[in-house]
């Protein structure tokens, strides 16, 4: 039934059981917030969600091997241990995303306290 599976595309909503709970950050918010407050709050939610994913090791690596992107050439350290594993690359990607969001939020709210595990990235990312 290829035609049926093609017709029935996947809804972007994840299953009801996969609900995200962020400590101290309710996902139902007051309608009295200003545009600016809302923007700041959403950025915080996005940052907290990435922090949660890093903590829970929820790196978004597809379980299905075929769905994964091709790996770059391996890089080894002096002990011969691989440096750029899929996990390492996925973490780095999330950390970079979070760094972008923290940077954006600090512009809107200079008093913002970044997550405790957040380290500002001084080094420019070299592709």
């Amino acid at each position: 039934n290829t035609t049926q599976t093609k017709k029935k595309r996947k809804n972007r909503f994840a299953d009801e059981t996969e609900r995200v709970f962020l400590p101290n950050m309710p996902t139902n918010i007051s309608s009295n917030m200003t545009e600016q407050q809302q923007k700041i709050y959403i950025l915080q939610v996005q940052i907290e969600e990435l922090t949660r994913r890093l903590k829970m090791n929820d790196l978004g690596i597809p379980a299905n091997v075929e769905a994964r992107s091709p790996s770059p050439e391996p890089i080894y350290d002096q002990q011969g241990k691989r440096q750029n594993t899929r996990e390492v690359r996925a973490r780095r990607k999330i950390e970079e995303q979070r760094h972008q969001l923290v940077t954006e939020l600090l512009v809107l709210n200079p008093d913002y306290k970044a997550p405790s595990d957040y380290k500002p990235q001084q080094a420019k990312y070299i592709d």
Binding site: R9, N11, R12, F13, A14, E16, E18, R19, V20, F21, L22, N24, M25, P26, T27, N28, I29, S30, S31, N32, M33, Q37, Q38, Y41, I42, Q44, V45, Q46, E49, G60
Partner: protein
Amino acid sequence: PGVNFSASNASTEVLCLLNMVTEEELRDDEEFEDIMEDVREECGKYGLVKSLEIPRPIQGVDVPGVGKIFVEFTSISECQKAQQALTGRKFANRVVVTSYYDPDRYHRREF
């Protein structure tokens, strides 16, 4: 954290969904249609969707409400059901944030 934004949140029949879509996705016609369909389908499980508004970006125009999705139900209780079912859910791997919206402002298209 800090300010309690969850206070004073009276339910209405209009639900505002935040953090679900990017401007880039909204610009793409096919993707936009898919998003409309996904939201309509999911919200339909909790009540009758009377109307659905997803503001789209227009080049060179500051369109209010871009990035937000508004769903009008026929009753407050249906809207509450949808709110409870959708808040904190993942949509395209983003965490859904919900907020009730003033129906008058919605009908005046004050997004």
